[in-house]
């Protein structure tokens, strides 16, 4: 369905995406594109959705180059990053136009609009102008235009940004449902938790390079090798004595009324810490993760790959 063969993208002198190769099989399923801001996720999605041609290598979607290629674009739906929509237009009229630009007309267009609006839960609010819609509603409308022509490949760039938890869960359920019905979904995010809830397959990007590819479990194992810094506030001496006995401890630093631990496999360490605190074995008042962000993890992985 989708293949990149040493595809790269340059923005003038800046390299947006290093030569990257991977393939996505046909059929339904969700693939997550994970990486911190500036990793090259949007660059990759722009290549795949036909917005930009590669500066080098080749991109093939349904066997053809997607840039300005109607045969490919008719089978692809894109939800770009952000919540930008044309100002001053009514959502339903705009959706009609997008349907016509997708080659739909007449009764087919009406049915497609009704189906897409129903799917995203906007059937009763599509008469509003975009200016009167909340961020979540605008995001749903952006998704509805991508679903209108029932694409075989649906591409979403950071779709959860700015959504409240309820809207996030609704969107996740919707994407899972579409994937089960046979749509191949490529979704980008810089938050591992979001991707992990959604996908069966992850592509890990960092600084324009494809760093790793695998299942959520494989990526988790890779990330577990990265020592995570935690600050434990309480009686520092007692906390330190307990910590040095833990097999996951990689380093320890004392602070006033706190101890900073560098811990491998936090998924094994944290439940044990929680249990010890609950049983009163350690005088723990607060726990602060210091570098649980993806940036730190990616920096670690980059060193690992160097």
């Amino acid at each position: 369905m989708l293949s990149l063969d040493r595809a790269s993208l340059r923005y003038g002198p800046i390299l947006g995406l290093s030569p990257t190769s991977f393939e996505l099989p046909g059929g339904g399923g969700i693939t997550g594109l994970l990486g911190p801001n500036g990793a090259g996720k949007s660059s990759l999605l722009q290549l795949v959705s036909g917005l930009l041609p590669p500066s080098g290598g080749a991109v093939r979607v349904f066997g053809e180059a997607p840039f300005r290629n109607p045969a490919v674009l008719a089978r692809v739906g894109l939800v770009p990053e952000g919540d930008r929509l044309p100002t001053g237009l009514r959502a339903d009229r705009w959706l009609r136009m997008m349907g016509e630009l997708s080659g739909l007309s007449g009764e087919g267009l009406k049915a497609a609009m009704a189906r897409a609006l129903q799917t995203v839960g906007m059937a009763d609010r599509s008469h509003l102008t975009f200016a009167r819609m909340s961020k979540g509603m605008r995001q749903r409308m952006r998704l509805s235009q991508a679903l209108l022509h029932e694409p075989e490949l649906l591409i979403l760039d950071e779709p959860f940004n700015g959504l409240d938890p309820e809207a996030r869960l609704t969107l996740m359920a919707l994407l899972r449902d579409l994937a089960e019905k046979g749509t191949r979904i490529l979704v980008s995010s810089h938050i591992l938790g979001e991707i992990a809830q959604l996908t069966d397959r992850i592509l890990l990007l960092f600084r324009g390079r494809l760093l790793a590819e695998g299942t959520v479990t494989e990526i988790r194992q890779l990330l577990d090798r990265h020592p995570v810094e935690l600050r434990l506030t309480g009686e520092a001496q007692v906390l330190a004595r307990w910590a040095v006995e833990q097999p996951e401890l990689a380093a320890l630093r004392m602070e006033e009324e706190a101890v900073v631990l560098s811990v491998r496999s936090p998924r094994d360490f944290l439940p044990r810490l929680q249990q010890a605190a609950a049983e009163g074995a350690i005088p723990l008042r607060a726990l602060d993760p210091l570098d649980l962000n993806l940036d730190a993890v990616f920096q670690y992985l980059t060193k690992d790959h160097a």
């Binding site: 949007s42 722009q46 917005l51 590669p54 674009l73 001053g88 237009l89 136009m97 630009l101």
Partner: protein, 261 residues
């Protein structure tokens, strides 16, 4: 899989989709640019007449050439063109259109068409208003044709300039307010590269009004009215086509910027 829409279907869908935009603020500014000067002239003309003053019918010619052609028409193009395809580029909504299977080259014309029709209607109304000032009824159709033809060309030119240059409005203003006024001192070959020349060839020449103090004034050439109208249409068509070609071949990403590829 749906078939990709034809260029005509694309133009129709885009024009109808964006048509409501002309009924918003910018559209009424456009209408005001025609109606306010004409209305004001009519008001002054009426007051002078009521007071028994001498209100010449040449006033209509003056308002047409000096106000509508030289001032308002270029300002209308400078106001309307940024609401065309340039707006999608700046608001970063262009990727939504460019990832549809519709031909990208048809989008600038589709987005410009509602503005052209809206502006044309008000220009025609403005020229009709000039009849109250004593405009020559025989010149009414050609004046409307001249303004509508020039509006078509100037709007298309500004759309193209807006896609080619980041500061399209500035370049457009320089063209309209520095290059066009030079028509009086241009040699014949350069006179034909101005909208003013074609408008005057169609709607009546003002050569007699060139003052003796204008030492650099050149002999004014004229083009057959039909050819002048065709030239305006052709300039417009060429600019729409070039704008479409530019959009079709330029990689425009989510940031609205171009990639090297």
């Amino acid at each position: 899989m749906n078939a990709a829409p034809s260029p005509l279907a694309t133009i129709r869908a885009t024009a109808l989709g964006y048509a409501p935009r002309v009924l918003q603020g910018r559209g009424w500014v456009l209408a005001g640019l025609v109606i306010l000067p004409v209305g004001l002239s009519i008001l002054i003309f009426t007051i002078v007449r009521m007071q028994g003053g001498d209100a010449s019918s040449a006033e209509a010619v003056k308002v047409f050439h000096e106000v509508l052609v030289k001032m308002m028409l270029p300002i209308m193009a400078l106001v309307a063109a940024p609401a065309g395809i340039r707006e999608d580029l700046e608001q970063r909504t262009l990727p939504l259109l460019l990832t549809r299977p519709a031909p990208a080259w048809a989008l600038p014309l589709g987005k410009g068409l509602p503005w052209f029709l809206w502006g044309s209607a008000w220009l025609a109304l403005g020229v009709l208003g000039l009849q109250i000032l004593g405009g020559d009824p025989g010149l009414l159709p050609v004046r409307i044709l001249a303004l509508v033809g020039a509006w078509w060309g100037e709007l298309a030119l500004m759309t193209l300039v807006g896609l080619v240059f980041k500061r399209g409005t500035l370049w457009g203003a320089l063209y309209f307010f520095l290059w066009e006024p030079l028509v009086r001192i241009f040699p014949p070959s350069l006179q034909r590269l101005t909208f003013t020349h074609h408008i005057e060839s169609l709607a009546g020449s003002r050569a007699a009004e060139v003052q003796s103090s204008q030492l650099l004034a050149q002999e004014q050439v004229t083009t057959h009215p039909a050819l002048a109208f065709l030239a305006l249409l052709a300039i417009g068509a060429l600019c729409w086509a070039l704008a479409g070609w530019k959009l079709q071949r330029t990689p425009i990403g989510l940031a609205g910027s171009e990639a090297e590829g």
